[in-house]
């Protein structure tokens, strides 16, 4: 009896003994792999392909960071997280960074002790309904049954939207995107709501995507971006500037196709600084001089990543919209590399 109590106590001690590590950058270098939290499977953003390789828009951020830190874009351990487990996974140190279309909000940034390192996709919450329903506006959804993916900001936005418009609805909280789609397809809910990008992604997987429409209302601002634990500023800088490097590369015309040529022969001093042929930006954040070059070579610049995974040529078919460079009327604006 006594013995089993002690053994039990030892087990608990073992479980709780993982202290939150401060120097994530050193840990990642020592480990040789980056532990990156991603979605459990969202086409275009993070999903394993037929060969079991993770691909997608969020996955590309993980690969770029791994390339910048370790020089190897494949040195990533992808940890699938649900809306529910993602924050615990990050806070406990199970993952080094989270790139799982997570909305940057005040309370997550402050109260939950995380640091958002930028925005890789400007999104907003929308509604998808079957065309046959004859609904043209979310305000017509009075009394409807709405499927929501639980554990996300969408629940709160949804409650706010219906309360503000003084109409009623019945929520059906669903744990994962796949189950929600199943319920929606069977007609157990009239509408499905999540980030518009996620809706487009899900709609693309239907047999007849044309039978479903996205309603025009976008009821929230959802800036999605990668995040790290609060308090480890060096690591936060690495992730932040890797993302900025991808964005700046597109703005400066550096792509995975021309990057070697640009590195050798560029006359633009900012490109030279970015690619490490001039100045020593790399050493300032504890990385090699060619960190940004490796990051860009991993899966291309921001524009290439967007086009390959979720762009208009893909089944997801998202337009750049807000996610265009600031020079093209979008919101992407990287601070200068100087």
């Amino acid at each position: 009896m006594k013995k089993s109590v002690i053994l039990g106590a030892l087990t608990v001690a073992g479980l709780s003994a993982s202290a939150a590590a401060a120097a994530t950058l050193d840990d990642v270098k020592e480990r040789g792999t980056l532990n990156c939290g991603v979605a459990t499977g969202l086409a275009g953003f993070a999903a394993p392909d037929a060969n079991g390789e993770w691909t997608g828009f969020d996955v590309a951020v993980c690969r770029a960071v791994a390339a910048a830190v370790l020089g190897d874009a494949t040195a990533v351990e992808f940890v699938p997280t649900t809306g529910k487990t993602r924050f615990t996974a990050l806070a406990s140190g199970e993952i080094d960074m989270l790139a799982r279309n997570t909305t940057w909000t005040f309370s997550r940034d402050t109260d939950l002790k995380f640091d958002f390192t930028g925005v890789n996709y400007y999104d907003g919450q929308g509604f998808m309904v079957p065309k046959s329903l004859g609904v043209s506006s979310a305000k017509d959804l009075d009394g409807a049954t709405v499927c929501i993916q639980t554990g996300t900001t969408t629940e709160l936005n949804l409650a706010d939207f219906f309360r503000a418009n003084n109409i009623s609805y019945e929520p059906v909280p669903i744990e994962t995107n796949a189950e929600a789609i199943q319920q929606y397809s069977a007609g157990a809910c009239d509408a499905y709501t999540t980030d518009a990008s996620g809706l487009a992604s899900s709609r693309a997987t239907f047999e007849t995507p044309g039978d479903h429409i996205l309603l025009p209302e976008i009821i929230s601002k959802e800036p999605l971006g990668p995040l790290v634990r609060h308090g480890d500023n060096e690591w936060g800088d690495v992730v932040r500037w890797t993302l900025n490097a991808l964005i700046a590369a597109e703005e400066l015309g550096v792509s995975s196709a021309n990057i070697n040529e640009m590195a050798e022969s560029t006359t633009n001093p900012e490109v030279a600084r970015l690619l490490g042929t001039e100045g020593d930006l790399g050493s300032m954040i504890g990385l090699n001089a060619d960190w940004a070059k490796s990051a860009i070579m991993a899966s291309g610049n921001y524009g290439e990543i967007f086009a390959k995974n979720i762009g208009e040529e893909t089944p997801i078919g998202l337009a750049r919209g807000l996610n265009a460079q600031w020079t093209n009327g979008g919101l992407l604006y990287s601070p200068p590399f100087r």
Partner: protein, 414 residues
Amino acid sequence: MSTLTDPPTGSFRLSMLLNDTRYRSMTLQVIAAIVLATLLFYLYSNLAANLRAAGLNISFDFLGSSAGYDINQTLIEYDSQSSNLRAAVVGILNTLLVAVLACVTATVFGVIAGVLRLSNNWLVRKLMAAYVEIFRNIPVLIWIIIIFTIMTAVLPGARAYLGDDPERDMLGGVIALTNRGIYVPSPFFTSGFGGGEGSGLNWLIVLAVLAGSFFATRFITHSADAKQEATGVRPKTGLLNLAVWFVPLVVLALVLGLSWDLPDPLANRFNLRGGLQIGAPLIALWFALSIYTGAFIAENVRAGIQAVSKGQTEAASALGIRPRRVMSLVVLPQALRVIIPPLISQYLNITKNSSLAIAVGYADITATLGGITLNQTGRAIECVLLLMLFYLVISLVISAVMNVYNSSMKLKER
């Protein structure tokens, strides 16, 4: 070795703590206690240090702030502006609701299947054996999902019942089976307390009348027993009991103006309005827990019945008692003593397994406090602690109640 040695004389030496059998066990226990206390202290300081390092503090203030999300099945008044605490209470009530419903139906399934497993009829016996083996050997989560998926896929959407000229007619014009749930008429009182809307007081009166009928029938049975003991003739009580149950209810319904709120297919373009909606998640969870745990209870019942000596059955048969009455008067009362203790743990299992509700979107305590609230506030440790506390308390209460019942049923030794 002689057991009659004189107690050692002389003064106490330190080595006696280990060598002397009188002190040795005490010494070992003290050492074990110290080690345990040190470990616990280490665990606590480790947790505290890590939380401090992560900049987190334990605080339950979030319970008072507004929850911000809606819940689809609420037994008490709740909206998105209610506090997280109220959301947790809504979850607790939903957990208790499904647990109580499932305990009752699982017991019914279990007793029927357990008794029939010992039937003399080959087909019935084998069917029940198949039920028990299939249902208890597949995880309950799978059953919950299977039943929910079947409901979703087989039943029509709510829209099939809507409009002036619906695709489908409601059963008897009042009951609609949809893949969102089952809509049935709900009773309300037009001339009771609280006017047309009605108030809880009316239902309390109904409950009081039902309790009165219950005690009245018990009294009737007792006096019939007494008369049978005294004269050997048992007065007929069946009709009287029926009257005691139904006459007061009918009178009450007339006095309070009982009326039925029917599901209305015209009120809304998406869903039926009015009536009582029993949601698909509740049905799936309730049914899955019932058939799964029912299979375990069936085995308990069978074991209990088989534990009753065969001589009892034979003696009862020899007295000319019919087989059904042998079961209900002789075997089951004795079998109950064996059945109840394992039954307690099955009830505890139902309560704990109801936390799988989130798989089908049923808003139990794990889904509200341990799911959405935890997610939105990020207060993982606090929420999980509260969850553990709730399940512990509720399990201990069930256990205590069942133990009282058990001690009232067990063999009275004189």
